[in-house]
């Protein structure tokens, strides 16, 4: 990074890693941090010290990321960790997710906010069942873009034919999961040696594609929500109690006596003054009179921006309401068909009474029948289970106490997603996806 680069505007890419244990994920992440000079001298020293303590002769880059006591003791990653690095053009937030089967729930967690996922395979083993499982989860969560990093190519003597075989098998897999070819990039790398991570390798002269870092820097960051209809859950109603309360020097604000702003983060689409919107679930129709932030009024606000929306009519839109484009309104329903990623030790049984958090609304829910369960190993739907256990992905029908405005997850990631919560403990039990985002996947024989 140079002193001049930081004055220009840079974009932010949120991405996740996934891969089996021992595919070298932590080493790859350590390599990315190291080669982008995001690791500072004291962190390197700490790693060198710890590596010597473990009797190693070279610094173990994976120690840069495995931070908890239990992780260092067992040499594994037990929880999602977030890492940060940057280049002159882009900043990166990396959700580094563990590869152990029992922590698949963390892949779901990392994937829920990712615009891209880097899936690792060991070049010696190629596509294995864990690769299929992770690719299925990434497809289910609608991560827009995938990278397959074929790691440890130094251990197969940079064998071009073998790498081409892995690429072919992986592309077949991602096509069957509904990824288009331009959403998938395959990159042969060696995290240990540094081949094609930040620097082009002299060992793969036949490879003409980008390095991993070049790809991360240049891939478009607009998710599938970019051209989706406008949605914004109302988080909070801003009502200054009197005009004198405002310390904003903002001249565009008139008399605050009647100010009533609906605060929220645009979930999808774009909102502009003059747009017709519907306030759900009640269905009142009105017009947006102003879109603003603390810095003043805006001509338009797109997905991801936290704004305050003012409406032309004095209607009730409390926390929990959803503002939606009047031209494209989500379904308001109390019967929801959904796909669940079950994240908790406690299994899900039909008839369970739980809480459901959707947008800014939390309501009661009764679980109906369980439908088919995803066999993540073979990536096909299997017969309905009696219960859903930790790391299971299954279809389910839900009845909610208050009708909710929902989109299918495949269409709008934010308003199609929800949490299931355990009332007595408050624990998050499941990631819920409205509809069947893996509709393309066939049922098992």
């Amino acid at each position: 990074m140079t002193g001049t680069a930081d004055t220009t505007s840079r974009s932010l890419l949120r991405f996740a890693t996934a891969g089996s244990v021992d595919d070298g994920k932590s080493t790859l992440v350590g390599r990315l941090l190291y080669d982008t000079k995001s690791v500072l001298a004291d962190q390197i020293e700490a790693v060198e010290r710890a590596s010597v303590d473990k009797g190693m002769s070279t610094p173990d880059l994976s120690l840069l990321v495995d931070g908890l006591r239990a992780e260092r003791e067992q040499g594994i990653t037990i929880d999602v960790a977030y890492r940060y690095f940057g280049t002159p053009t882009r900043e990166f937030v990396l959700a580094d997710t563990p590869g152990h089967v029992q922590y698949t729930r963390n892949t779901v967690t990392g994937a829920s906010t990712a615009e891209l996922a880097v899936l690792l395979v060991d070049a010696r083993n190629g596509v294995v069942s864990q690769t299929r499982r992770h690719a299925a989860v990434l497809s289910l969560l609608r991560v827009p873009r995938l990278v397959l990093a074929i790691n440890k190519i130094d251990l197969i003597e940079y064998d071009q034919a073998k790498i081409a075989d892995i690429e072919r098998e992986f592309t077949e897999l991602t096509r069957s999961l509904g990824f288009t070819d331009d959403a998938v990039q395959v990159i042969p790398v060696s995290a240990l040696v540094g081949d094609n991570v930040a620097f082009r390798s002299g060992n793969t002269s036949w490879y003409t594609g980008p390095t991993l870092l070049e790809h991360l820097e240049s891939v478009p960051v607009d998710g599938p929500d970019a051209d989706a209809p406008f949605r914004m859950p109302v988080q909070y109603v801003i009502r200054p109690r009197n005009g004198a309360e405002s310390r904003s020097a903002d001249a565009s604000l008139g008399d605050l006596h009647d100010y009533r702003g609906y605060a929220g983060q645009v979930a999808s689409g774009t909102v502009r003054p003059g747009d017709e919107v519907v306030v759900l679930p009640e269905g009142h129709r009105t017009t947006v009179s102003e879109v603003r932030t603390a810095d003043g009024p805006l001509a338009a606000a797109g997905a991801g921006l936290s704004v305050t929306v003012l409406l032309a009519d004095d209607i009730d839109a409390p926390r929990g309401a959803l503002l939606a484009a009047a031209s494209d309104v989500p379904e308001v329903t109390s019967e929801i068909d959904a796909t669940l990623c079950w994240l908790a030790e406690k299994p899900l049984l039909p008839g369970a009474r739980l809480l459901l958090k959707h947008g800014t609304r939390t309501t009661q829910v009764i679980v109906g029948t369980l439908g088919s369960r995803l066999d993540t190993e073979r990536v096909s739907y299997a017969a309905a289970p009696e219960k859903l256990e930790i790391n299971d992905i299954g279809r389910v029908s839900l009845r909610v106490a208050d009708p909710l405005p929902v989109d299918s997850y495949a269409r709008v990631r934010t308003t199609g997603g929800f949490l299931l919560i355990d009332p007595p403990t408050g624990n998050t039990l499941a990631a819920g996806l409205v509809g069947d985002p893996l509709a393309a996947v066939p049922a098992a024989g």
């Binding site: 002193g3 930081d6 505007s9 840079r10 974009s11 932010l12 500072l40 001298a41 004291d42 962190q43 700490a46 990321v65 495995d66 931070g67 908890l68 006591r69 260092r72 929880d79 999602v80 960790a81 977030y82 890492r83 940060y84 940057g86 900043e91 937030v93 729930r105 779901v108 967690t109 829920s112 906010t113 607009d222 051209d227 988080q235 909070y236 200054p240 109690r241 309360e245 405002s246 310390r247 904003s248 100010y259 605060a263 983060q265 774009t270 603390a294 810095d295 797109g302 991801g304 936290s306 926390r319 947008g359 800014t360 990631r413 997603g417 929800f418 919560i421 408050g426 624990n427 990631a431």
Partner: protein, 312 residues
């Protein structure tokens, strides 16, 4: 920059991606509003340091033009720089925010806590903090912690449940999915909230420059009497000073973090403006904690261990 060439109009019309600082700001504002909507008694931990000053700034933007619906809490070790305490009180007054102060010195005075042999008071903050949370029945406590600070913090959720003893259990964290935060807690438990989890030290400085946020003067280069210990420049104060063999010298220094004076070191610097500070942070080969926080060097897992006890 070279001149931008005319690009052909493509069919797909997409919203331009948010600038990195706008995206981080929006995420933090979203978190503030979620807490305002779901909790009864939130409070912002405010020390007058750059991260907590950033929190106050973001909170003001989240609720503008109304005032921030939370107060401030400072756990004062009694080892703070006067410039920082003056700044703390002035900012609270300027924005009309109620400020509670929990004083470690009150605990030392009546014997509930005892001064440590090494003189540092950072670990002594935990009890006054937890007592203040219990006394005021705070159910959400905002902190300026960032995941880039330390490896254990890299694992911390944006909303992190603490039990009745204030403890953090890294193995029992709730998964955080999309931007849906689950803040449910039982009576007596509370949630620590970290709206700037995803910011780096450079993001903080760039944002401070962009927004013109005022900071205590100790963040900028000034001359001060300091002595060197374990490679850090420490100042003399009520917490003690140079020991045998340690030489007091007048140096041009600045602070990268604000903490207990006994264990927070300064770095040599001539950076008196935001641009100079940013250039210096960009070029630095040391993390802010590695450079200036003695308490994080105590053991491999010092931060993790303290967090399990209820520290931030």
């Amino acid at each position: 920059m070279t001149t931008v060439e005319e690009t052909p109009v493509t069919a797909a019309v997409t919203t331009p991606a948010l600038d990195a600082l706008d995206a981080l700001e929006s995420e933090a504002i979203h978190v503030f509003r979620e807490v305002a909507g779901e909790f009864d008694r939130p409070v912002i931990l405010f020390s007058g340091g750059k991260d907590s000053t950033l929190l106050v700034h973001l909170a003001i933007k989240a609720f503008a033009p109304a005032t921030v619906p939370f107060g401030l809490l400072h756990v004062d070790t009694g080892h703070n720089y006067p410039e920082v305490i003056e700044f703390r009180d002035r900012i609270a007054a300027q924005y009309g925010l109620r400020l509670e102060v929990a004083r470690v010195e009150d605990y030392l005075a009546d014997g509930r806590l005892v001064e440590r042999a090494d003189g540092t008071r950072n670990p002594l903050q935990t009890q006054p903090l937890l007592d203040a949370i219990a006394e005021h029945r705070f159910d959400a406590v905002f902190g300026g912690g960032r995941r880039d600070e330390e490896r254990a913090r890299a694992k911390e959720r944006i909303m992190s449940l603490r039990d009745a003893f204030g403890r953090w259990d890294p193995r029992k964290q709730r998964p955080e999915l999309w931007n849906l935060y689950n803040g449910r807690h039982a009576a007596g438990e509370h949630v620590r909230v970290f709206p700037i989890s995803n910011w780096t030290e450079l993001d903080v400085w760039r944002y401070i420059r962009r927004e013109g946020i005022e900071l205590p003067s100790i963040y900028y280069a000034h001359e001060r009497e300091v002595f060197q210990r374990d490679g850090m420049w420490l100042a003399e104060g009520p917490w003690g000073g140079a020991r045998d063999g340690e030489q007091l010298e007048r140096r041009s220094i600045r602070y990268r973090t604000v903490g207990d004076g006994s264990c927070t070191g300064a770095v040599e610097s001539t950076a008196t403006t935001l641009d100079e500070v940013i250039a210096e942070v960009t070029a630095s080969r040391l993390t802010e904690r590695g450079a200036t926080r003695a308490d994080d060097r105590l053991s491999e897992a010092a931060m993790e261990d303290r967090k399990k006890e209820g520290y931030f």
